[in-house]
């Protein structure tokens, strides 16, 4: 998958899970602070991405922005 495809997927999942407009989910968006996500929301987003991308995602606390999620997924897919 290209970065752009991953970004599209991440934006769609975050928008759906957090019930926010997709326009608000930009690469530099801070998921917790700007989208008001808590730890359960992050779990749900990761679970949905795992199911959709068929990959195990086990990120640490460094995931803060949407771009962080995209980069982490890109690395994980590359390592598969």
């Amino acid at each position: 998958m290209t970065q752009a495809e991953i970004l599209n997927k991440v934006q769609a999942v975050i928008a759906e899970q957090l019930d926010v407009e997709i326009e608000k989910v930009t690469p530099p968006t801070n998921i917790r602070e700007e989208l008001d996500a808590d730890s359960l929301d992050i779990f749900e987003v990761m679970n949905q991405l795992e199911d959709d991308l068929e990959v195990k995602l086990d990120p640490d606390e460094s995931i803060v922005t949407v771009q962080n999620v995209v980069d982490y997924i890109e690395q994980t897919l590359a390592a598969k």
């Binding site: 808590d38 730890s39 359960l40 779990f43 749900e44 990761m46 679970n47």
Partner: protein, 325 residues
């Protein structure tokens, strides 16, 4: 021979502690607690122990059916906060209500305890003259670290239970599924009791260490929202029903968002998933019977309704019972 539930009852402490009450002492807020868990308030025991709450439940069960205590065959209490290592809480209840012909013991299976206890009780109901009490009771407030806002806000105290009678009816009890994932036993723990090396030469030293509640967040979340619904669906299918045919899903009241996610995974309307955790928090083994009792007493569960009782928690355990009320 199966069982039918002929009475339900509950006993919760009088003291109500709201989220605002907790926010005065912990760095938290009503908004934080309610949005993350759905909990608004919980009951906290003042002087009552688990046996006290369970005894009141037992008395109510007898009164409802005008049953003499001497007719009770067995009393099983599911709890993770027993009064003592020994005697069992159920034995204390037996003594309190003078159920002189009943044998009594506790079951320890955390939040699945009530469903596991129902499974065990089934084996004792061999005639229509057999009556067994199954009660879930907890005083979790007494084992919590009240300075830890991440766990202190989640739990509450209470007891509830059912009176079972043996029945020949083929469609009263429809199936069960009990699962234990023991290799993940360390992912959700509370109160490690016996540890360290015995120093028999220094008898004044104690070797009991109490650890408070701890949980691996994401793993438990995945367990609850992925593993549990799979097991639940399999149990319903194995009993010969579809999820659409179930009238009520009585899920362990751990967290409103978990339950909402479960409903989504099962593709069932949230209206089939009653909740009362907003008033009681997570009462572990008391959670399911407390919900069952309220739904029955308020007429939302009617005779003939197909109900799935589903507990999950420490062990890790999952317990599912399928009944026609």
């Amino acid at each position: 021979m199966a069982f039918k539930m002929i009475a339900t009852a509950q006993q919760v402490p009088q003291q109500i502690v709201t989220n605002d009450d907790l926010a005065k002492r912990l760095e938290t807020s009503n908004e934080w607690i309610e949005s993350r868990t759905g909990i608004k308030e919980r009951r906290i025991a003042q002087t009552e122990n688990t046996s006290d709450l369970c005894t009141q439940v037992a008395r109510q069960l007898l009164n409802q059916q005008q049953l003499a205590a001497s007719q009770v065959k067995a009393i099983i209490v599911a709890t993770m906060t027993p009064d003592y290592y020994t005697p069992a809480t159920a034995a204390i209840v037996q003594g309190n209500i003078e159920a002189v012909n009943a044998f009594a013991f506790d079951i320890s299976a955390a939040c699945s305890g009530f469903t596991y206890a129902l499974s065990v009780a089934k084996g004792y109901l061999q005639s229509e003259d057999d009556y067994v009490m199954v009660i879930g009771g907890e005083v979790i407030s007494k084992v919590l670290d009240w300075s830890d806002r991440s766990s202190a806000v989640l739990f509450g105290d209470g007891a509830a239970g059912v009176l079972l009678q043996g029945t020949l009816a083929a469609d009263a009890w429809l199936g069960e599924r009990l699962v234990t994932l023991g290799q993940q036993n360390d992912q959700l723990t509370s109160g490690q009791l016996v540890t360290g090396q015995t120093n028999w030469q220094a008898p004044t030293q104690t070797h009991l260490a109490i650890d408070f509640f701890q949980m691996s967040g994401r793993l438990i979340y995945n367990f609850a929202t992925r593993t549990v619904p799979v097991e639940l669906e399999q149990a319903v299918l194995a009993a010969g029903y579809s999820l659409d045919q179930v009238d009520h899903f009585l899920i362990h009241q751990a967290n409103a968002r978990l339950i909402t996610q479960l409903a989504k995974r099962l593709k069932q309307p949230l209206s089939k998933f009653p909740m009362n955790l907003q008033h009681y928090g997570n009462t572990s083994a008391a959670s399911i019977p407390l919900l069952l009792d309220e739904e029955v007493q308020q007429g939302r569960i009617k005779t003939g309704d197909l109900c799935v009782l589903c507990g999950f928690g420490g062990g890790l355990t999952i317990g599912i019972q399928i009944i026609r009320y």
